[in-house]
Symmetry: C2
Subunit: 563 residues, 2 copies
């Protein structure tokens, strides 16, 4: 490729509101071009990288027995209503009507339609497992697109789905995917860790994310500085501190005028927050629920949703509270017949102060299982700023990260909804155990650039670089230099090295800076002086120094180069 003919321009001025390095680099080097909020074209260099990423993914999917297929972007609404995702996805789903006013959606993932396909084609345990995948354009109406390719509304994703005869087999398939994912990231030159994740609204069972640690990430992960524990902050478990005291004191109702919050209560009574109980009230459907947690922790809505089996809950209205005689600010589950969920931190302490269920009064020396009962005692706490690892008791810490892959055990959620069953060896009919597995290729590319760049541009790993080599020909207006450049260019092309020749009549400064901005692993410089001596200057993008070699040595050099 001649650089003069490449769809490339180094953008000198960027919009001022761009924060992320990968976004800046990709715009500046014409890797991407914005068509709308969260909607980009991938221009030729980015697309070359993405095709290399796709090819790496394809190899790994095929290696675990994956069959590639292609399902439609536009899908009838009715199958989304049937799965329930038309409701749960809400505004994230793009919706439209055709010319006959029939309703459709644009698919962000393909569980529904594939479950229907498999139902029509696979009927016996003999044909299982099935691992099916596609690499395809997806649409999702993100509320706040940002960061170039990190959070977009149209994106290319590899989505895979597995169908197994039972949970053990699903576990095995799931583990194969996990290994395949690690191989993919390694081949792409990206450092990634696997963390425990929440499986979201429609959920399922186990779920893991693969994340690239990066300051520009939107995800927050919890890591242990000793053992290998790693989890999404939303999902993270941790050791709750123990604050049990031995004194047993009498319960006493005490006046707490105008005290409505835990901090005010602690100040007023001069007690630490871990000696208090925070009580909250929610409504879901026509159920009324009390949630209690120790005063030094906060409730994590996702953990709560998991216990409730729905994300469709909200704080109880004033009317509902009044109906149940709950005085807000002085409330608790004591002497109330309300379905109650307690965080297990209440088991790591005693003699708490809680609301007296009487306006402007609290009550002291309250204990779970003595003064009130909970219908469920479990972990519903947000990860606090500091905590110890539940596994090894060492310090946990948090990091920002970019999610670059997500795997789920779906179980039989979809196969039951769509009646996708198979005949077992003994002749019974059972629902298939499903898994789903996704990697966004554009976000993966952005994450690689976030992890591997300097102030001049990206430093592409060889495996995914759009081209391996750029020949920077200085003094190209000299006909001998021109001929020499083309001789080398043709030699490299013929030898199978993907190469760009910078044949533009530009200054050395512009040429070197564009070579850095393109980020290819190897730069070969040619100048009048080098031509005269039949030499080539070679610089690796990742190194500072260059070397000079005889032109006859170039193929040998490239064969062993560690670029």
């Amino acid at each position: 490729m001649y650089l003069s003919k490449m769809l490339f321009k180094s953008l000198r001025q960027l919009p001022s509101d761009i924060e992320l390095e990968s976004h800046k680099i990709m715009l500046k080097s014409s890797m991407i071009h914005q068509a709308g909020s969260g909607i980009y074209s991938y221009l030729p260099t980015a697309w070359k990288s993405l095709k290399k990423i796709e090819s790496i993914i394809r190899d790994e999917m095929d290696a675990i027995g994956g069959q590639e297929l292609r399902m439609p972007v536009i899908q009838p609404k009715n199958i989304w209503s049937k799965s329930g995702r038309f409701q749960t996805m809400g505004d994230e789903l793009f919706k439209l009507q055709d010319r006959r006013k029939k309703p459709f959606v644009l698919a962000p993932t393909h569980e529904e339609i594939l479950t229907l396909i498999v139902k029509d084609i696979i009927s016996s345990y003999k044909s299982l497992p099935q691992i099916l995948y596609q690499i395809q354009t997806k649409l999702r109406d993100e509320p706040r697109p940002r960061g170039g390719l990190l959070r977009v509304r149209e994106f290319v994703m590899k989505d895979a789905y597995s169908f197994d005869i039972n949970q053990d087999e699903l576990d095995q398939t799931y583990n194969k995917f996990s290994t395949a994912y690690n191989n993919i990231y390694e081949k792409c030159g990206l450092e990634v860790i696997r963390i425990e994740a929440d499986s979201g609204a429609i959920g399922g069972k186990d779920s893991h994310e693969f994340v690239a640690i990066s300051e520009s990430g939107e995800d927050s992960v919890v890591l242990c500085n000793n053992c290998n524990y790693a989890a999404n902050t939303e999902k993270a478990i941790f050791a709750k501190t123990e604050f049990t005291d031995e004194t047993t004191n009498e319960k006493k109702e005490i006046p707490t005028p105008n005290i409505k919050t835990i901090p005010d209560l602690c100040k007023f009574l001069n007690i630490p927050d871990y000696k208090t109980i925070k009580s909250m009230f929610y409504e879901t459907g026509n159920k009324f629920i009390c949630v209690v947690i120790r005063g030094d922790y906060e409730v994590n809505d996702l953990k709560l949703a998991r216990i409730l089996g729905t994300t469709d809950f909200k704080p109880a209205s004033q009317a509902t509270l009044e109906k149940h005689n709950i005085p807000s600010g002085s409330a608790s589950p004591i002497n109330k017949n309300i379905y109650t969920i307690a965080d297990d931190s209440l088991e790591k302490g005693n003699n708490f102060v809680a609301g007296a269920n009487k306006e402007n009064y609290h009550i002291t020396n309250i204990n779970l299982n003595i003064d009130f009962k909970a219908d469920a005692v479990t972990d519903i706490a947000k990860f606090p700023e500091k905590a110890k690892c539940l596994k090894c008791n060492n310090d946990l810490y948090t990091k920002k990260a970019i999610e670059v892959g997500h795997i789920f055990k779906l179980g039989t959620i979809y196969s039951e909804k769509f009646n996708t069953k198979f005949l077992t060896e003994s002749g019974a009919r059972e629902s298939m155990e499903m898994g789903c597995y996704g990697i966004g290729t554009g976000r993966l590319l952005a994450a690689i650039i976030e992890q591997s760049h300097d102030e001049k541009g990206p430093i592409f790993p060889k495996s995914i670089s759009p081209y391996r080599i750029i020949i920077t020909a200085l003094n190209i207006d000299n006909f001998k230099v021109k001929a020499y450049s083309e001789e080398i260019y043709n030699l490299l092309k013929k030898s199978g090295f993907s190469t760009v020749l910078d044949d533009r009549n530009e200054s050395a400064g512009v040429k070197f800076s564009d070579a850095d901005l393109l980020g290819f692993p190897i730069r070969i410089t040619i100048s009048k002086k080098l031509e005269e001596e039949k030499l080539l200057e070679i610089k690796l993008r990742k190194n500072k120094d260059s070397i000079t070699i005889n032109k006859n040595k170039i193929l040998d050099y490239l064969k062993t180069s560690e670029d």
Copy 2:
């Protein structure tokens, strides 16, 4: 691949309303699965073929200097309003709003967005030509989806666009594409002819279609049985018969009571239709137009649209006719001051009978340029049932065909609308000359199956067959046969031949019929008897007979096989 684990089932019963062989075959062999009207999933075998087709296309596009990129499916409406296609495409365009009620469209092709990208990146003649392409999902809300993959609403298309400095250079680029397209069809094993085509509503200049002759085609093409003239019926030109007579007679108004049509007029006056003039009246915007043609021809609306520069015209309303004093059934342009377009057939005859512009009267011996003038005299006639070639005067005939590619010279239509200019060598700023070039990959696959199948299923050309070989293992419950089958399967796989092993415990009848239905070029049969003698039976899908060879000869056989 083991057939037992492939996402494959031979559908025994098809819906009764399926007409086309390719559609039947693709449904029956689980190549496709319908998600909605004109919306299909491509299952693993179809997708394998489509990826091979994509790869053939990519090679040819790269060979002419094409750069691959990827533009978005979802696009802001405003750029479509600017090009005018939001209006001209009408209901064919899928439209939607995002969560903030911003209007978007789903793109069927990408002229608008790419013209904008090129405008932002390319500024000099030094960077031209640019040839840019993508292979991508497109959406088009077809009014009547039909025929499986022949006319669908979601499809994968290779669309390419070229940008040149002038018309001569565009002509050269256009010719490169034309050659590349021929190479693509040849490599895919499809017989195709290039025909002249209409360039459609937004149009441009030259345009050609590549069509596969097939009874199941929706296109109709005109071919010469002597020279190489070939054109879409809508665009076809032909020699209009000469019917000039020497007699000169007086003009005479004659009563024609209740005669409103040409057939009635001919019958009443006992004259042939070529002695009459048919006059029609149209409205477009606020223009009123008269169109005249010899009575033995019909007006071709597409040819007329080309002269008018718009497809937005309709027959004049009764009110408009009355306003202009036009008595329908007895009308003509005589003595009327109306913008008139005449078909050139009126120059191939004389002394016509035409409407007298007086209710129930016609007038005899009317001649163009004597009794009325036309503002344009040109070819606007539909291709009749029979006609002679304008080039060589031999017989023309029509055939049904499937359009499998379309190339257009767009000229500067888009570059002017989007102000996409470049600096010429002399420092002027000029609009780029554009071309666009499309191949639908799914329709190409369907056309290949239409051209190459028998009653048992498809006969895939080797270059695009999902797999090259199927090993049909009979008596697979015999452990020696099983071991022998796997030995051969592993040998072929290791040697790089893409192979499916039919390892199912099915009857010979089912296995042979499924092998035919899958359509792979080579079937290798294994049975108890063949195993005992270490033989293999080989049958090519396209031939009737089989041969038996020693297993040690199999690799040699495959290396030289003409399957």
